[in-house]
Amino acid sequence: MDFILRAPKRLLFHFGRYLLLMRNAFNRPEKWSMYWKEILRQMDDIGIGSIVIVVLISVFMGAVAAIQFIYQLDGQLIPKYYIGYIVRDLAIIESAPTITCLVLAGKVGSNMAAEIGGMRQKEHIDAMEIMGVNTAGYLIMPKVVAALVVIPMLVVFSAFVAILGGYIASVGSGELTGGEYLRGTRSFFLPNNVNMMFVKSLVFAFLLTTVSCYKGYFVKGGSVELGEASTQAVVYSNILILLADYIIAVILTG
């Protein structure tokens, strides 16, 4: 019986501790100027530091989507300009927010878990606590705020680059003219899809930063445990992002 109850008990323990940590993280800051400085540093880390990888994955996401749909629609009675329409909606609704955030969970999330975990192990967090700093607030809140501002921007940028990638692949392969692709990208546009993209990017940004910070903040032991925490931060963030993706899709398309 104990064995059966162990997993739910652990889940509840972590969920409760996560909620308490978040409550502390969003307490009133000791000094706004210090937090603001940290928010700007994090925005630079998350935003500027991730542009190259976002461009790379987005351009290929769009290109691969275009080539796949050209292949699947080949010989069917569907107008070719639909390729542009499909790539656009795929980028906006799914690939830009979800794939970008999955990749950012790997890059930014693991970095956050390692940074905070390293501070825990080197007693930096204890040193701050003894100074009277609300460490959950100072170390976590600026990261979450910065991610909530910067990640939606990266997602919009990713969607744009993915559509551009689709253009390069489809026009470059000679299957479509530039005019046909652009006509597709302008057809059947639903503004609600953009709202969905922003909702997803905000939720995913919150999940990937808070889960990663949680894993780093409570790390124990040495470098092996720090590595494990960093890996777990990425794995749990990815699982939660995909779960949230499904829930948002059900709610916002229902």
């Binding site: 080197k122 003894i130 009277g132």
Partner: protein, 254 residues
């Protein structure tokens, strides 16, 4: 003044501290000594509030520290400085930025005033001109001194030092001991030092408490050490044959 009253600490079934009652006086260097695993670090962590006692109370002057909420604890910690065993300096900040951190976080001083305060404490620890050096660019002894400078920059009433001499050569260790002693006397600070350095015990031990397997087994001062017939104290202090010979020579002479 800090007072521990019937303090117990257990980790699951393992009782690490048993019924510790002791008073640490202001303006004196109060040493906690004992073998590795005696419970010194756990006791120090209880004193600064990084852990909660299983039973018992800890008083800061007339305030029951163990019954305070997080906000009140942070308020008291503004009066607390701590020197960590590994210094716990923030690696990515320079010496000056490390020392300035508490000033940035908790005061409304101007940049000029902060600079003056940093220079003052750097001068006090004999590190003038080291403002722009990173922790990785200075020696272990200098890192300890920067740690001391950071812990006294807000003029604390209480100073805690966790093994301040670990990893230092005997001469540098003496300098650190002298520095801690002088700062304690100059500012009438309640200083609690966790150590197993015999030079510290005989050099700066105004009040000494010996912990053995989680229990307080002896209290006294440096002049009472030699004459004590407490076997645990004698076997701890004079553990090495060299020190035993020195003791015997001193007793024969005197």
């Amino acid at each position: 003044m800090i007072r521990a009253e019937n303090v117990y600490k257990s980790f699951d079934e393992n009782e690490v501290l048993k019924d510790i009652s002791i008073t640490f006086e202001a303006g004196k260097t109060n040493l906690i000594i004992g073998r590795s695993g005696a419970g010194k670090t756990v006791f120090l962590k209880l004193l600064v509030g990084l852990m909660q006692p299983t039973k018992g109370k800890i008083w800061y002057s007339d305030v029951d520290f163990t019954s305070l909420g997080k906000k009140e604890v942070r308020q008291i910690r503004m009066d607390v400085g701590m020197l960590f065993q590994g210094s716990a300096l923030f690696d990515s900040l320079t010496t000056e930025e490390n020392i300035r951190f508490p000033l940035d976080m908790f005061t409304n001083m101007t940049s000029k005033e902060k600079r003056q305060q940093v220079d003052k404490v750097l001068e006090r620890v004999n590190l003038e001109g080291s403002n722009d050096k990173y922790p990785s660019e200075i020696s272990g002894g200098m890192q300890k001194r920067v740690g001391i400078a950071r812990s006294i920059v807000l003029n604390p009433k209480y100073l805690f030092c966790d093994e301040p001499n670990s990893g230092l050569d005997p001469k540098t260790a003496l300098l650190i001991d002298e520095l801690i002693k002088d700062i304690t006397y100059e500012n009438n600070i309640t200083t609690v030092i966790n150590t197993h350095d015999m030079n510290s015990v005989m050099g700066i031990g105004d009040n000494i408490a010996l912990l053995y397997m989680g229990q307080l087994v002896w209290t006294g001062n440096k002049s009472e050490v030699m004459g004590s017939d407490n076997e645990l104290l004698q076997s701890f202090i004079f553990a090495s044959p060299f020190l035993q010979r020195l003791r015997d020579a001193a007793l024969n002479k005197g």
